[in-house]
Assembly symmetry: C2
């Protein structure tokens, strides 16, 4: 069942079998045919471990994500896997569950299994591991957050464009009081999204209300809790932006429980455009980030850096850079290597603000209660005209 068996049956050396199955062109076609025949008869499958051990390439690409149960990540994983398989690689998934201990274990696994590259889309990685990956000459690419120190490679997401579209959409509809539910602020990408939101607000002349900047955790529960916090506030916004779709779905649930309506009582915008966003009730207006783009860019970035000094680098570039220090430092220490576009997908959670803008909940402040006037007293509007 091993290569020796094949060699014996095909009456060739194991070297020839190896060359044949690796499509080395110098093999005599007649011999190759004989080898292939035996390979198929025996259903011979080469042992990946032995292969990787001697060749130094595992044909494995690591992908470290935050949380596999957040539907965004499976969508990313799927795209990433397709991109990998198309290039002859497999992927090894690690999920950190937002715990740095788990993160460490993931990184360790990737090192132990000798991955040929790692894409990371989760919170900050320990410097220790960056050093290790660099030392072992394993290319890595960070999707979206810029960690503390200069990196070989970062894929930036154009938050500003998407969030700006969202904020403008709301502003055009007449919203002036917009809340933002961020992700965990320990995550740099969460911070980026929040900062992008604040910048957008500023650019259209609105001032943020600190009460309306809530820290969530990118989960359904977190979104629900955050919205409940907002509902308990003395002054209510008329629109909510969320830093991911799961949070927005949690918000929808909280509003449903409070017997409030979207978009009549609150407009709502998510982020990611997971497939589910089309299916929420009502369908979620959200900011799309292309998983496919992300995945293909990440893969290409990784593979292009596989053999530093060799490969498709234009010769002009290599002359301008010192060639040494390959082991400890990848010479291509470049700027964000690509930017992923975002764009607003308008569905049905955004509409005109129905409450007075400057005069939020006049009766509520009189009654000194946090609840809105009962649903029945307010005008009801059908979802579609």
């Amino acid at each position: 069942m091993d290569i020796r068996g094949v060699a014996a049956l095909a009456r060739v050396s194991i070297a020839t079998v190896s060359r044949t199955i690796n499509h080395v062109p110098t093999v005599d076609p007649a011999l190759a045919a004989r080898v292939w025949k035996v390979v198929h008869e025996l259903n011979y499958l080469p042992n990946t471990q032995a292969r990787a051990l001697v060749s130094g390439r595992s044909r494995l690409i690591g992908l470290i994500v935050s949380e596999i149960t957040n539907p965004f990540f499976p969508e990313l994983i799927q795209e990433f896997e397709q991109a990998a398989v198309a290039r002859g690689y497999e992927i090894l998934i690690g999920s950190t569950n937002y715990e740095s201990k788990t993160m460490e274990i993931c990184a360790r696994r990737m090192l132990e299994r000798k991955v040929d590259g790692v894409a990371v889309m989760t919170f900050g990685v320990e410097d220790f591991f960056l050093d290790r990956f660099a030392a072992e000459n394993i290319p890595y690419v960070f999707i979206d957050p810029a960690p503390s120190r200069p990196l070989n490679s970062v894929l930036a997401v154009d938050y500003l464009a998407g969030i700006s579209e969202g904020v403008q959409h709301l502003a055009v509809l007449g919203h002036r009081n917009i809340a933002f539910i961020s992700g965990p602020l320990s995550r740099r990408s969460s911070l980026s999204r929040k900062e992008a939101f604040l910048a957008c607000l500023h650019s259209i002349g609105l001032k943020p209300n600190p009460d309306w900047l809530i820290e969530g955790d990118h989960t359904l529960d977190g979104g629900r809790d955050a919205m409940q916090k907002i509902l308990a506030l003395p002054h209510l916004p008329t629109a909510i932006m969320c830093s991911n779709d799961m949070t927005a779905i949690g918000v929808q649930h909280a509003l449903f429980e409070a017997d409030l309506r979207i978009p009549d009582d609150f407009s709502l915008i998510g982020f990611d455009d997971i497939h589910l966003a089309e299916y929420t009730i009502p369908p979620l207006t959200t900011i799309r980030m292309s998983c496919r783009d992300l995945a293909t860019r990440a893969m290409e970035n990784l593979l292009s850096r596989r053999n530093p000094g060799v490969g498709s680098t234009p010769s002009t570039a290599s002359t301008t850079q010192p060639a040494g220090g390959l082991d400890s430092l990848n010479p291509r220490q470049d700027q964000p290597s690509a930017t992923i576009a975002t764009r607003l997908i308008v569905r049905r959670t955004t509409g005109l603000p129905h409450r007075a803008l400057d005069d939020l909940r006049p009766d509520a402040s009189k009654q000194n209660t946090t609840s809105l006037p009962p649903r029945a007293q307010r005008q009801r509007r059908s979802a579609r005209p």
Copy 2:
């Protein structure tokens, strides 16, 4: 950076290093301490490939699922991974996307990477691969469908119990006209669920209407399409059972689009109880199947069969069975090794049927149209009293 480096610095042989890091108890504590010190200083990580190559154990467990973007599977994967890690294993995920070609590639990968076991939760696997796994003495466990021929091991899900609870719940509420949206009927587990549904119907004296048995595909789109098919029918059921939650969410969407209400116009029951089910609008009544149970049972089943003839098997068992033929056939060819319980979780998509039971849409049949009377003409009921 390899074991030799550690051995040299600790002034011991590589065998001692190997024994130390594998916690072989015969190592002298003083030496072990010296080794550990060097291991930590160097941040030595053993090469998994070399390890696996010589030891014959990859400490990798394969998990083949249908589709990673269906949230049920990430939940399963998470539990499975935890169960694996707790036992010192890692998992290798393959998703078939319901294509038998992809299934083949997955199985091939598992064989090439020399997994120590495989759990399969997707449609039927080719006999070829079953033979291969058996020949290589790789234990496998099938979650829920019983493939065509006798298997080493199957984990059965007690569909009947859960679906029966669901049907009875509907019957008690007064529903007599229940539709069922199945998964792809090429999948045996889909068939099982459908058959369980039919059996339940029969047991309470109801006859199935063939029009109301729709084949879906376990996706959001499939659920929506199926419900649209039902809505186009001349006679409408008052309740819908779905064979998974994603289908049910698709149904919710279709009803929302048609301006129909849950549970007023239709009662709805899902299956799986994914986390999202609590967050749909209204929250989904569904049949829970415990991922954790599934995962731990599958892992334990796999690991208990790892060393046939060796290990923790009680001696009585080994005497009653012929010991030979280990390579071609695992001797423990047993019945479904475990049954996973299911139970109904009542949320808010089930309620009293508001339409007449025997007399569906009398006006619709007169008008020869497929649409229900306009929403506004019918009584509206708030989600909660």
